[in-house]
Amino acid sequence: MADDMTGGVPVATVARVGVTLTVNGADYRLDLDSRVTLLDALRDRLGMTGTKKGCDQGACGACTVMVDGKRVLSCLTLAAQCEGKDVTTIEGLAADGVLHAMQEAFVRHDAFQCGYCTSGQIMSAVCLLAEGRAGSDDAIRQFMSGNLCRCGAYGNIVAAIREVRDAGGHDA
């Protein structure tokens, strides 16, 4: 469990912190080691494994989630910093079992191969449209540059985003 990762430090020096996380509209009361990231809290404490850990240092974008409507890296965010904020993860995009337009477009365009980067790509893409920065393919590529895909599905990712944009976007 992430909150038990004392990493060899005597347990007495590891401070704990109480946090209420609001994830996809539901509140969770957690008691965490103060060093636990939002990413580890989501995956290891709340069992929401849709958000992926690629690098744990801000460089790949696989862990992208929305905090108060903005895309951020959950690996560089402490869970304790999210008290009182609205966190949206990939699990929160589909409403009543109906996929979000961006999820559908990714499926239709085959915008993934292994799928490891996909939830981060989709969260980032949804925010990109909300930011109004998807005006051209170049702009899409530039403002998706924080999300890497080792399988190289970039062409299809751009096509999926373009399609959702042309269909009038979709706010998450």
């Binding site: 020096t13 801000g58 903005k70 402490l78 530039q142």
Partner: protein
């Protein structure tokens, strides 16, 4: 690791006075990488993200007071007209996700010689507003950088804001990296014209970011302000900028490449600025 959560600036200053060992955290885009890589364990974190005063900027008497909590994304959206050089540099920082969180104050706190804010802050003669329970003081940007990843803050001090003059002339920033996005600079350069004064800033090519005073003085005396840019003047300016640097070989680039690229960037940014100058004259 204790987690300190001040809700006001006064509270933050008191906590920092009581726990000078606490590491401030704003956007966390530097601090969290260190924690995740287990490089040094802070005994305490002082989370400034909830301090609302810090997330504001104001403009007064030709100066922008940029609160320590204003993200790069907001700086780019709200201040590109007033601070074009800093906004241009901000657009090159990391990725959209990093820019939603990262701040100029965090860049200053980290004081990496490669930080992208530093060249434009130097070129425009910015000041850092540092505060503690003992009071507030302004630190000239040229006095702020004290060594590789070291700055002039006292252990009980925090950055409240950065004060940057509103642009009165053209400003440009240029950065060399190994790809277009998400790269730490191999070398970088900023230029700013203020009337007939020229400001410069060199990044990633010395133990600290620094100006190129001789290049500035040369340009101020050699430029014919009403005519086209003399190619020899531009070339000499590039050489003087290069001579002001003291780079090393490291994983991102060699000393020679850094020197060469600085001379090129200095000439290019001067050319862009000159085109603007002539257009507005």
């Amino acid at each position: 690791m204790d987690f300190l959560r001040p809700l006001t600036w006064a509270e933050a200053l008191e906590m920092k006075a009581e726990r000078p060992d606490a590491t401030p955290i704003q956007g966390g885009t530097d601090v969290m990488v260190e924690i995740n890589l287990d490089k040094g364990r802070p005994t305490a974190l002082l989370d400034l993200a909830a301090v609302a005063e810090l997330a504001e900027w104001t403009r007064d008497n030709g100066t922008v007071r940029l609160g320590a909590g204003v993200s790069y994304t907001r700086l780019i959206a709200e201040l590109a007209g007033d601070l074009p050089g800093l906004a241009q540099a901000s657009r090159t920082v990391g990725s959209p996700q990093i820019r939603n969180r990262g701040t100029v104050a965090g860049n200053l706190g980290a004081a990496s010689p490669a930080g992208d804010s530093h060249p434009p802050l130097l070129a425009t003669g910015a000041e850092v507003e540092a505060e503690s329970v003992r009071g507030s003081r302004m630190i000239a940007i040229t006095d702020f950088y004290r060594g590789v990843k070291r700055n002039a803050l006292e252990p009980d001090e925090l950055i409240r804001a950065v004060r940057i003059p509103v642009a009165t002339g053209p400003q440009y920033f240029s950065k060399i990296g190994t790809r277009n996005a998400m790269v730490i600079a191999v070398s970088s350069f900023a230029i700013a014209f203020d009337g007939r004064r020229v400001g410069t800033g060199i990044g990633s090519a010395a133990p600290t970011p620094r100006r190129a005073p001789e290049a500035e003085a040369f340009l101020e005396s050699a430029l014919d302000w009403s005519g086209p840019l003399d190619a020899d003047v531009a070339r000499r300016f590039g050489e003087l900028v290069r001579d002001a640097a003291a780079p090393i070989d490291d994983v991102r680039g060699t000393r020679d490449y850094r020197l060469h690229s600085l001379a090129v960037m200095a000439r290019r940014t001067l050319t862009w600025a000159w085109e603007d100058h002539l257009r507005c004259a």
